[in-house]
């Protein structure tokens, strides 16, 4: 069954067709990778799904619902979480606070009860904290709990951003280049986290990634893009062997 579908999705910025009539379906429980050379339109697809950009045409379907016109701040509440290519954490806040912000879409307390910090708000805060602690334990972030993001090494920030997305308790997780900026070992660790997220938490993942070893390690299916168009779709081996894909990466005109 497909959890997410993009139908004939297109967006243009001025004259550039950044994404051009892209269709794909993501099945419940799989890891779906999007690959392609720089500027292929991968991040733009994520920004379309997060509703930061409006598509010029096409539709987005999630969990049986048309989300093409849903406002961006409702996306998390529907169960779609994401990370960013260049880490967008709240850098003057602690790891704990960052993860708690991930719980925002589950917060129900009224403004008044927050201003007075009524017992209901206090109870809700404790239960959010319990959920956050589950994520901290899952990703082994215990010793960084009270550290400011600005003081963390890059690799740890990537894990924190992943954790913040998990705090949303999403059905669909969008990871934009989870391995960028990481060394070989850290990339492998990231691969294990992604496998755990799929197997233990049962979360469906769409991942933009350049590192083919990571793609082969974790993904079930791969879509290759170039100049905003789909070049190939299939298992990692099929796509890597596709002559169009090879040509796109070597740099010839597709």
């Amino acid at each position: 069954m497909s959890l997410f579908a993009a139908q004939e999705l297109a967006v243009r910025f001025g004259g550039i067709k950044a994404v051009d009539s892209v269709s794909f379906e993501v099945r419940q429980g799989e890891v779906f990778a999007i690959i392609g050379p720089n500027g292929a339109g991968k991040t733009t697809i994520f920004n379309l799904i997060s509703r930061i950009y409006n598509p010029t045409s096409g539709r987005l379907m999630f969990d049986g619902q048309d989300i093409t016109t849903v406002p961006p701040y409702r996306i998390a509440g529907l169960g779609i979480a994401r990370t960013f290519q260049n880490i967008e954490l709240f850098s003057n806040a602690s790891v704990l606070q960052n993860l708690l912000i991930g719980r925002h879409c589950h917060a129900r307390a009224s403004v008044g009860s927050q201003l007075l910090f009524l017992p209901s708000t206090r109870r809700a805060e404790v239960s959010h904290r319990e959920k956050v602690e589950d994520v901290i334990a899952f990703l082994e972030l215990e010793r960084y709990r009270d550290t400011l993001i600005a003081n963390l090494p890059y690799g740890v920030r990537k894990i924190v951003e992943l954790g913040r997305a998990l705090c949303i308790e999403p059905k669909l997780l969008l990871l934009d280049e989870p391995s960028s900026g990481l060394n070989v070992e850290e990339t492998e660790v990231m691969g294990f986290w992604i496998e755990d997220i799929k197997k233990d938490l049962g979360i469906t993942v769409i991942m933009v990634e350049h590192d083919m070893s990571l793609v082969s390690m974790v993904s079930d299916r791969v879509m290759a893009l170039n100049y905003g168009r789909v070049l190939a779709m299939g298992t990692p081996a099929e796509v890597q062997g596709n002559p169009d894909v090879i040509r796109a990466y070597i740099g010839g005109e597709a």
Partner: protein
Amino acid sequence: MRYLFKTRYQQDLALMRHGGDRMSYGLLLVVLLLIPAVLGEFYVGELGAVFIFAITGVALMLLIGYTGLVSLGHAAFLGIGAYTNAVLLEKGVPFVITLPASGATAALAGIAIGIPTLRMSGLYLAIATLAFGSIVGTVFQKWTAVTGGFDGFAVPTPTIFGFPIEGATGVYYLSLAVLLFVLWISVNLLRSPIGRAMVAIRDSEVSAQSMGINLSLYKTIAFAVSAGMTGLSGALFAHYVRFLAPDSFDILLSIQFVTIVFVGGLGSLHGAIFGALFVRLLPQAIAIVRDYLPSAIGRMPGLEPSIFGLILVLCILFEPAGIYGRWQKVKLYFNSFPMYRRTSFRRQRAYARSERLR
């Protein structure tokens, strides 16, 4: 050094982190309660004014320091609170109603200005609030039927359940009580989802949005809360000055408020208090020093605003963490003597949103 061993999540939600905190804050409160019995009328009045400025400082800290929205129009909210309070008292409404009404009117004004302007960020928002401030100032001058215009407005003495709040001592205790209330509300806010949403908006709007935070809603809430608190402070200000003149709520006052936030230290409620103390004491210091300066400088018009501006700029350049940041460094130095390392406070970028001109 003190190590805290936490065993319950509730401990992170507590107002005071440990017994030492309870001791020092308790002691401070006792001292503050005793001050009017010890010090003379003038000093009590000045401290009352510090409290009033501290309330606005806290309000503006929530907006600038925690949400990253710069306002150069907060004197207008102060004025709205002051006039609402004075006009309603004049009409015979009891003070227990006029005080919250001043906060509510200012909060409504905050929402009214917030909705059209909060799409803007950085400098554009600063300029929009500046314009709002001067429009409100003009309204105070021209709407003579209500405000009395340049004839001014004598503020009636408030009574609470029959007891008149009179003189410097009355204003002192009243302002202290309102300051404590405002601090309590602020701490509540900061440990709740709204406060975290504010910090999220300050640090990264895109990512706040993907966390499910409705940017315009939370910016409006931050603006309303900040304006409302400033309105309360305005009501007290009316009693401090006792006579309202429409031109006292001008841009210079707004800049003093912004100075409180930057000098005190962005992103800290303690900073707002230190900042208010500084901003209220500086004019006194200038007045004293003035007599010893060569008259070309000492009698120069605009000496005070220039010094304010200079200090604001120096603070932003050299001590973004403000007085409170400096205090924490000194405290850490003594706590960890002789193992203090300069890098314990590696300099971090200050996060006034106006810096990020995109």
